[in-house]
Symmetry: C2
Amino acid sequence: MISSAAIAFECLSPCVNDGAFPVKRELGDPVEVEADIFHHGHGILAAALLHRPAATRRWREVPMRELGNDRWAAEFPLESLGLHEFALAAWVDAFASWRRAAERKQAAGQDLSSDLLEGAALAAAIAARASGDDAALLRAAARSADAAALLAAETAAAAARWPDPKARQRSERNWTVRCERPRARFGSWYEMFPRSQGTVPGRSATFAECEARLPEIAALGFDVVYLPPIHPIGRTKRKGRNNSLVAAPGDPGSPYAIGSEQGGHDAVEPGLGTLADFDRFVAACHALQMEVALDFAINCSPDHPWVREHPEWFFHRPDGTIKYAENPPKRYEDIYPLDLEAPASESLWRELLRVLVFWAQHGVRIFRVDNPHTKPFPLWSWLLDQVWALYPDVIFLSEAFTRPKPMKRLAKLGFSQSYTYFTWRNSKQELADYLAELALGPSRQYFRPNFFVNTPDILPEGLQRGGRPAFLSRMVLAATLSPSWGMYNGFELCENRSLPSSEEYADSEKYEFKVWDWNRPGNIKDAIARVNQIRRQHPALQRIEGLRFLRADNPQMLLYARFSRDLADVLVVGVNLDPFAVQHGPIEIPGPDLGLGDSFTVEDLLGAPRGLWRGQHHYLRLDPADSPAVIFHLRPA
Amino acid sequence: MISSAAIAFECLSPCVNDGAFPVKRELGDPVEVEADIFHHGHGILAAALLHRPAATRRWREVPMRELGNDRWAAEFPLESLGLHEFALAAWVDAFASWRRAAERKQAAGQDLSSDLLEGAALAAAIAARASGDDAALLRAAARSADAAALLAAETAAAAARWPDPKARQRSERNWTVRCERPRARFGSWYEMFPRSQGTVPGRSATFAECEARLPEIAALGFDVVYLPPIHPIGRTKRKGRNNSLVAAPGDPGSPYAIGSEQGGHDAVEPGLGTLADFDRFVAACHALQMEVALDFAINCSPDHPWVREHPEWFFHRPDGTIKYAENPPKRYEDIYPLDLEAPASESLWRELLRVLVFWAQHGVRIFRVDNPHTKPFPLWSWLLDQVWALYPDVIFLSEAFTRPKPMKRLAKLGFSQSYTYFTWRNSKQELADYLAELALGPSRQYFRPNFFVNTPDILPEGLQRGGRPAFLSRMVLAATLSPSWGMYNGFELCENRSLPSSEEYADSEKYEFKVWDWNRPGNIKDAIARVNQIRRQHPALQRIEGLRFLRADNPQMLLYARFSRDLADVLVVGVNLDPFAVQHGPIEIPGPDLGLGDSFTVEDLLGAPRGLWRGQHHYLRLDPADSPAVIFHLRPA
């Protein structure tokens, strides 16, 4: 059990749970690997980083460099999507070790005659496995047995190119990295409730009406248009307005009660149109450089075709009837959960795979997965791998509003992105602590956050009370703290009417048809468009790393720097967390730490240039009535 | 590769390199295990910790308790020396999960009739695998199908005792802990140079003369008497006084140049006596409750029997002669290193094992291993395991004065204790940083420090310059910061004469016979005896954990609390790091944090009672001429 390796490989980074799960990177990123590599004694080590796409056989190899204190480093590029493997190898370079000792003796004026015979023997042995010029050079040096030839730098370089394969030791194991496309990390999401995108009250909007809104959404700078379930909705126990137990005639019901006589997870709700209409909608998104994300919710209405065709996939009562969803004392009688651990579930798992592949065939490459934490972990390992085998560019967003450890486990198992606790992190300390965890903690290797400012289920209390300034500041926070952020439609209108003592929207379109005035007064569309534009222009905002909270004395003012790895792009964001009052106070901007020197020009990307600032100490005033936030672009003077 | 387990086991502690190496504990210690254990969904989990001595087949099992946030904990006792294994198991408790949901529905006044049928079926299934009273109780509850019977606490308790073996999931792997005797952690070491323990100048002292000194050493409170090599010393290229290249007639040579015509690693230097004399010395130590530690140095003089009998074990020059040790430009012509990686080394490894077993047969249970970092790592994994298979109570101290990572690797591979960088950590910040690493860092799980204040090779500069106050303060630091500490004879006499610009002793007994006056004026034997007595009386000083540095404004004053885990024993140690001047200043003692409340009595165990102290803020004055250190024993008022 205890490694008996003569060369130690320890503390490799990056890795997740000591390599039990892959780390995540995006196409084009280098994977920067470090490890402790050492050996007993005084011999000179050489080391290499091995890597390959997991599906291939041939390892590629890059030399590692020693950083000091037995730490070694190298990088390899990711040139294809999917899983890649990497490993380590090291060996004692006998010729280099001999050379160092001989040089020291030479410098001390000691007799080298025996050492030169040793060096010549080593050079001859290397020459025997070398070829070309190296072999000739080494053979000549060996024949000469001469200090000048044997100790020459070229001789050492030639020898290093032909290491002794018998001396080579490989790490006992491989590590893995999953490469996804950059959208897995960086993107702005717009959640569109399709039924409410039209202008005619009392009926569902159609995909064609949804399509009509796309230019506006593209102009707001969004990358992803995410649709809640678009499938036929059950009639049995359908919910009425404001989640009431009895639906009135004409009430459309919750789109999460999936399935009716008109079809299930691979069908389209007739009120929205046909599958062909959906295909046109997808094409229209693509034409505007946007992608469609579909909801993947593993539950059924009592009218879903699966209930009839596969009753064995559901939970049953002792009397043989199918159980509806319950979280006592709550009941969800319009929804039948599926028994994903039942003996019969293998065919269900395959059916779920078929559904995902069906939509992938219709151009969908992003799935937002509903409540994955209530489904077995092994389902996700299997399902994601199966989809990726066919469509390696698919992105999965986990809607796991659950405890921290299951939330993170889903990310480890493969989910590309995850919803977060952002909507419940409001105070300065809460935000700083949470971002420190996400941006600096070990989870940054595998957990990609997507900061939604609201969802159809979550109208945070701060937005309910704070109004427009709160919408602005939460939007700036989400869009500048997390490389992926999202909003659910209505946010841009500062919609903040809730049910009493609840995070639920009043008169939610989850249960009724609505018509919105997408340009109603008080909207913050200009600000959203501007912030999304800034996000696209500034690499500093496209990674979770490169974050440092800065000193702002006022406890209602949050100040942070966002910077690219090379410090070529540096922003400082200041947000007034109090939507009700002007806040102001001294702030500190450590120019030298940010690669800016002591003087730098400041431009508020949400406002006006501020001119040349000198030194670290400044003063900031943020008026929620005007703009509760600044995004300073800092450049060396 | 990705775990497809339905129940996640993550972040187990304690572990070393994610379980690649055993953690270390001592006999009688509980092993306190924690892990993240969780599952999708809402089912109630139960978990167990499995454990067994590694050599046995049957696992024992203790239930784990949930600490919150998906963290679980349990302990198991260590009742035998050697390697123990542990693992985790967990399962969804279907009956408990059913019961919680039914109770919630009952509390909400909902209809339970279907639920009770379900519960009855579950109870009946459990009854079928149960026996005795539990089976009867469960059967009765199932037959009744009655809410009162099925929801009763006794029914739940009975059900929990018979978990479904099919629902049980075990961790895929085991973890390990190596159990050693408490001396591996806690002990005071006296390094005795045997040749210098007598009273007759110009010849070696004998084991009998060494024996005569033992009552004095026992009275000083030492637990271990450690002897540098006691074997015959080579004559070829023997070193003279002060490490000179040519020995004068009668010079004894370095005891590390092991082996002569009188024998090798299993023989005794005739000047010291016979093997029988050594056996008597060992017995005399045991009679005084002390143990003997022997040096294990894998090198030979040119006169060692192995050179003749096994030339293949050595390094050879191209001309066939054996190479002496070199670290260019230095040469050690009196020593031949052994080639432990040579094809012929298997028989050498076995011979080394024979040597260790030989001395174990003569009552030695502690080996101090010379320079283990210059020998192959796999040798140590093998050798220690082989010795422990025969003598599980053997303790190995690693003399690895090398870079941090190889030093720690040797501890991971099995060395019970290790020499440290303590002698080179002198300033307040250096000591605080180093102790934070040892006492609080991950290495505390496997790296047991032994703080030597000096060695035959290391007379630290601070002792050379600082004189008696420096000897006192370094002794108090070593003995109160590390549960194991040691000194090399002469320290108690404040011997501080060095070779010029060197950490080497002047006129070192490594190369000559000496006669010491063990009671010479200025000695610090009383203080050593007192500190070793305090160490035995205070559990707070017997573990590396339980350390907190306290505020002392004066940069030359180091102040720290040492406390037992239950806070029943609390000490505060203050040390003046400046041997030349009185230092004084405000100090802070956070009584409430140390379980003492706001008032506590203070007794200086090196001086006098100080009375009742109130509050956190006090003032301390330390006069090196008097005592440069205080050891306060704090008790609640």
